[in-house]
Subunit: 108 residues, 2 copies
């Protein structure tokens, strides 16, 4: 079965949405802490543009990563697992074949 | 005389560079304070992107404003005066015709 053909039940959609939002919240909260740290360390004139460059890069990365299309969600969850923003337990409720795929992809 | 034809003596160049750098330093230091304030106020997930948007806009504005070409420097100084990043006294040493022009433009 192609990932693009995967069907998501109502329950799966709810589990997926909650996990997706939780991961996003964790990552943004971690980013906010980093921003505070960088902002506190601004001493040189150009440091402010270092902060801007950092935020531009992180935004580009995060915008690309948090793609809530069911056709790619298995890959999104695998990446979030790999990066530590989600635990596999938080995806319980998804069909076993999806969980297996997410878990396998996250170890690649 | 066209602004583009204006000649700048060695002394004028030194005065201009010092004033230019001073204004930039003041503006960036003020910006750093604003950034600290915004960073401290981050409570919602999207606040971090508000900070990024703010920095993008300010960088665009500042990059355009601090243009150290002698052909446009009179206009640059007039704007910095108008915005309060420089005082006319800090431009002392420039030729009277330039000072007069900067002063007049700053009141427009």
């Amino acid at each position: 079965m192609q990932a693009t053909d995967t069907q998501w039940s109502q329950t799966e959609q709810e589990v997926a949405k909650a996990a997706f939002d939780k991961a996003y919240e964790r990552e943004i909260n971690a980013l906010a802490k980093e921003v505070h740290k960088i902002a506190d360390g601004i001493t040189q004139l150009d440091d402010i543009w270092v902060l801007h460059d950092f935020l531009s890069a992180r935004r580009h990365d995060i915008d690309g990563k948090y793609d809530y299309r069911y056709s790619v969600l298995v890959f999104v969850f695998a990446r979030l697992l790999k990066e530590g923003w989600l635990n596999l337990e938080e995806l319980e409720g998804l069909a076993p074949d999806k969980l297996k795929k997410v878990s396998a992809l996250s170890r690649m």
